[in-house]
Subunit: 399 residues, 2 copies
């Protein structure tokens, strides 16, 4: 049995994974020292990276090349781990998730054979050649094989960038604005929602001075001229939804500060209750159902007596409720899990998914069944059984 993990982000949901590992034993494979960028094809907008290469390391390497890799889960995760979990994050609304940005994978299969999901060395933009093996392995959470290299699609670095924030009188107004911005086809690069608890936490942790109100953080990419148009349209929309202020940050430093605060939202939330652990939900619903589920979740949270904040990639219909919990308090942990499960079921009832980007892991196996139905789960089990007949890879995860 091989449980794959990477030390640096191991702390995310430690107690659940750790318990199961203690109970079952197994082998832990650490690939961090395979940390080479194997091939950079600037003209083809592609790069091949080993498992030890993180998102930030890649973008540092690409600096001055005119290209970048946009998928950005905030955390400085390994790119192969991001492929394994079908990660996405703040830029997905414009650039897609890992699903749209992985071109090829090198995988060590459970029996030791080496698979190149799109064929050795291939890095084309599209193909209709046989079954989409790349797509099957992206998001398989280490249950089908070990990813030893990932070929990624790069994008031209934006010519200019503007970040903006605006505060709203209500959660509903902020989320409605998101829906309207998408419907107006503004090619927004990032659109993130933070509720007032989250804003308060970020103000404290990241020394911001923002209104403590439901807020959108936005980013626009394009030429100077295109940006002005995008900003103007967005400003009109948010004002129609009662936004109290709309402020831009054109300077790189100011923008970095804003996004650093957004990326540190997890730690800012943890700091609200020192000594606690965080437990993150991850539902994603069709855009039209987003206002109702966020508003309802907010009410449930207030009623539950639990401490938590809401932050989300609302442009994709995806948001996280970061619940703060004392891991030694079994009763509280139980309530947190029940809250998360109820939220998952609410998303399912609205034609959504229980996980927009974090994956199933151990905790959402029951919800997966409810989400894809019996035939869906049976089909997944058939795939697992044929590709890993001895059940060696991350046993018990996902299915």
């Amino acid at each position: 049995m091989a449980q794959l993990l990477r030390a640096s982000t191991w702390g995310l949901f430690p107690w659940r994974s750790y318990c199961s590992q203690k109970a079952k034993g197994g082998v832990c494979v650490n690939l961090m020292q395979m940390d080479q960028i194997l091939e950079l094809n600037l003209e083809d907008f592609s790069v091949v990276v080993e498992p030890g290469v993180t998102r930030k390391a890649l973008n540092t390497h690409l600096r001055d090349s005119g290209l970048w890799f946009p998928v950005d889960p905030g955390a400085d995760a390994s790119l192969c781990g991001m492929a394994a979990t079908a990660a996405s994050g703040t830029n997905a609304v414009r650039y897609g998730t890992m699903r749209e940005n992985v071109l090829n994978l090198e995988v060590v299969l459970p029996d030791g054979r080496l698979l190149h999901t799109a064929g050795p060395g291939r890095h084309f933009r599209k193909s209709a050649a046989g079954y989409n093996l790349t797509g099957l392995f992206v998001g398989s959470e280490g249950t089908l094989g070990l990813i030893t290299a990932t070929t990624l699609r790069l994008h031209p670095a934006p010519e200019a960038t503007v970040a903006a924030t605006c505060a709203f009188p209500s959660v509903q107004a902020a989320v409605d604005s998101t829906v309207h911005i998408l419907q107006a086809a503004v090619p927004v690069a990032r659109i993130e929602f933070l509720d007032e608890v989250m804003m308060d936490a970020c103000n404290r942790y990241s020394k911001l001075n923002c209104s403590v109100a439901p807020t959108l953080f936005l980013e626009f990419h394009g030429s100077q001229q295109a940006l002005e148009e995008q900003l103007q349209r967005t400003e009109e929309i948010v004002q129609q939804n009662g936004a109290s202020d709309f402020s831009w940050a054109k300077e790189a430093e100011e923008r970095s500060q804003l996004w650093a605060a957004r990326h540190n939202a997890w730690y800012a939330a943890l700091a609200l209750r020192p000594g606690c652990k965080g437990y993150s939900t991850d539902v994603c619903v069709p855009i039209s159902r987003l206002p109702e589920i966020v508003v309802q979740t907010k009410e449930d949270l207030n009623a539950s007596g639990l401490k938590g904040s809401i932050v989300g990639h609302v442009g994709d219909g995806n948001f996280h409720c970061i619940l703060l919990v004392n891991p030694d308090d079994a009763e509280e942990l139980g309530r947190v899990k029940a809250f998360a499960e109820q939220l998952g079921r609410r998303a399912l009832a609205l034609h959504g998914t229980c996980t927009g980007e974090h994956g199933i892991g151990l905790g959402k196996r029951q919800l997966l069944q409810e989400e894809v139905g019996a035939v869906g789960v049976e089909t997944m089990r058939q795939l697992k059984a044929v590709l890993d007949p001895r059940g060696l890879m991350n046993p018990g995860k996902v299915l």
Copy 2:
């Protein structure tokens, strides 16, 4: 055994498929009368269609809704067939292929069970819930099950549209321009290459009056202001590459005429040699290798004595060589096949694929092996064996 086909596009490569069907017998399932648009979610940018609904029928239905479905292979194919073949076409450079635009599939599995690849009724923008079954069935060419409904992602209709054409002194100059336009991050919606043989054929068949020279057909989508900027940048680039004229068509009628001509390129090519059949190649390579492979293919074509033209979705690195052949002339058919196979191998040598969008079918099974390697093909065979253990669905195709 079930061979799936749809009468309307059955004429594409008739003799190959037909021979194999005659030899093996089998059941032919016609789904054309399942032709309902089952669900339209305007706010969520999604729609559910049955197999009898074609691309044009859907876009006619969407007229005045502010939304459209951009994937456009020219032919008025069924949308489920397009999902089955991972089709793409002229708009993929901007909007992606079927792979990026199918959200869910309803599939009758070989044993009769009904699978919803993303779960019943689901139509979210992204998910990390278990294995990507949708991705596995898109492009499976009817070998894993019968698609009885497809949920598609819709896009906001562009506010304004401009089409443009420009003629070049050489194939190299036209293809170089394509690479430069992409590198400059101009969000071009369509960028199609037609060689001088193709232009001549289009002039005759579609009553155009264009220069008989290597030509790019382009289309830009956006706000009026954004379009002006895109046009200006593109014009600069093509002029640097020696384009002799760059003309725009803002009026809907003029644009339609241009794209009708492009979409009729197949029939225009056939008309060059009455009584013949067409045989289309479909390679796709990394963008940087596109100039050399197109130039080389052009030279080979001239040297071969075969009659053919080149047309392609060059923004994806994908182009077709439409070869004209007398189907009763076995020797000529042999030369055509040899030419296509050699071109496929050249694409493979340049890290490309033997099929960007048409699929493997019967004709490219050997090339598939060379493309993905032994482990890739074995893995695909394992998937086929577990999902269709009795080999009922399109036996002999793809693998």
